[in-house]
Symmetry: C2
Subunit: 336 residues, 2 copies
């Protein structure tokens, strides 16, 4: 199959329409009529850096590439619109491999109401995916940036974190997760299910698009998605908003089983606060909006919203551990 | 320098504003207010496939990556707007190398009125660049797709072709272009200057943005940019428009010196009609619009517009060579 023929097969699977699309794939460019405000983000996943084909299926790699890009739209409170993908295709991948990557992307695109509508393909020495996502909003004021958090705001977190990092440890542990023996004494049915959940958080993260829009409507003053880890991303939000953040470590909900994975592999569970790739949302919010925001997030995605700290005047991030200890974000291992 | 620090240095150089930009680089995503119609295209350049660091400077590689992407906007007749870049950075490139790639992109962005405003960066085993460009138009009808050519239309070409292919032969010849000895008997000052021009066409192509908009306004019915070669791209236009195209090879303007490069290296100069990467525009146009269109293209970019053939009912592309021979597009070597 030549490049043109593969492109034709790919095009068959791409979205020819969407609320804003006037001309889909197959011409020199895609034509859209956005109406209102547009939000654009680009993201790259590279083999050996962001994933390994030994531990993730091609479908999962495709899904994750789109998920990480869409997570940036979630963090702005935007509605997902169009996605474009560039694939760098190594010789050993094959056409079926390309289509399998695409299937993963299309699967998540459908689940999130995104139109995967254009792309480019190139031979490459290693597998890479570069994804561009475009989101929409009525006007710029409907969106939430990293700047805007004010002293007195509550600091809130969707869902639970630490799962992706614990999943990564499990995947890269001495025994692959298919063999749960390394879990030792906790290798019960419950632990196995928890471990599968953690591996799922690592391999199939979900962008919090519904929660992001709900938080924007509920009056979030600043928002960021957790890709680099709670410590590092809280630092980005604090810097952009020119405020200080104080986080109570005990208040941070950890994914079920993640602390156990850390303990059984001889690591400090608090390191999970530095683990990346959970793609939950961290937001600042006036305290009086907290209850309504939690209800909106629950209705949007069935997800919890937890107050984990507060916004103060000053700069930097302080994470208070039990027993009066403090941890600087820089004190964490960057796990991903 | 860490990833965050390099990103900060890159952000300093990115465009914080542009006619449509409300929030530039540094947050989770870029915010724009497009107004009207948006045109989006993505393109990838991969080391060893699209360029070699031995023959192109990092500045040239950056320029070319943006140029090839912008060329797709030119082929729609769109006005350039924003550009986003993903860089895959191998260990041997270094931070200064990244900034040099960026400098090349910024140079062309400024020359074309494009705002290079966002991006992502990843470690990678090999150098790659994935570029997303966004263009603007008043409405979808102001744009020109590949479909729409009608029997009776004239087939026109901006500028001259064959330069990029001849430049590639020169660059990959037994002697590098710095040593013009392989040009043999034609290695005069004039030939040296022509050769530099050809190498320039290969390494620093210019997207025909002004000509594309001029042709759209002048009533072009279909348009495509020549990335794959005249034969192949004419085939794409014919297929999308469901027409046949007849091209008179003798009417096609070849870049000065390109035929000589072919002859001195023992190749048939007509092969240049299959050579890619010239990024000139091929368009169909009602014959009565020809004169006004040529004047508009001359005023827009000082470029020629040449009638090279016509649109007929039917399908396929026929290229008539002198002496009554015919060439099918498939008969050409794909040079790039």
């Amino acid at each position: 199959m030549g490049e043109f023929e593969l492109l034709a097969r790919i095009r068959e699977r791409l979205a020819a329409d969407g609320p804003h699309i006037r001309l889909g794939s197959g011409d020199d460019a895609t034509i859209t009529v956005p109406g209102g405000t547009t939000v654009t983000s680009v993201d790259a996943l590279v083999e050996g850096v962001h994933f390994r084909r030994e531990t993730a299926s091609l479908r999962q790699i495709g899904r994750k590439a789109l998920a990480t890009a869409l997570s940036d739209l979630a963090a702005m409170g935007a509605e997902p619109g169009e996605a474009y993908t560039v694939l760098g295709v190594p010789a050993d991948l094959g056409e079926e491999g390309c289509l399998e990557l695409l299937n993963g992307m299309i699967e998540l695109a459908r689940e999130t109401g995104t139109s995967l509508t254009g792309g480019d393909l190139s031979r490459a020495g290693e597998l890479f995916l570069a994804i561009t996502v475009v989101g929409h909003a009525a006007d710029p004021e409907a969106l939430v940036t990293r700047a805007g958090a004010r002293p007195g705001d509550a600091l809130v977190l969707t869902g639970e974190i630490g799962g992706a990092a614990a999943g990564l440890y499990a995947l890269s542990g001495p025994n692959p997760p298919a063999d749960f023996a390394f879990m030792g004494p906790i290798a019960t049915i419950k632990a196995k299910s928890a471990l599968e959940g953690l591996v799922g958080r690592q391999l199939e993260p979900r962008p919090r698009l519904g929660s992001g829009q709900a938080l924007a409507r509920a009056g979030a003053t600043a928002m960021i998605d957790l890709s680099d880890g709670l410590g590092a991303d809280a630092g980005h939000l604090a810097e952009s908003s020119e405020v200080a953040l104080r986080i109570e470590a005990k208040a941070v909900p950890l994914a079920p089983g993640s602390a156990e994975v850390m303990r059984t592999s001889g690591r400090d569970p608090w390191q999970l606060l530095g683990g990346g790739e959970d793609y939950e949302l961290l937001a600042a919010l006036p305290p009086e909006r907290l209850e309504a925001a939690a209800e909106a997030v629950r209705q949007a995605e069935g997800t919890t919203l937890t107050k984990i700290g507060e916004v103060l005047a000053g700069s930097g991030v302080e994470i208070r551990l039990p027993g009066g200890r403090f941890l600087e974000p820089e004190g964490f291992d960057q796990l991903a």
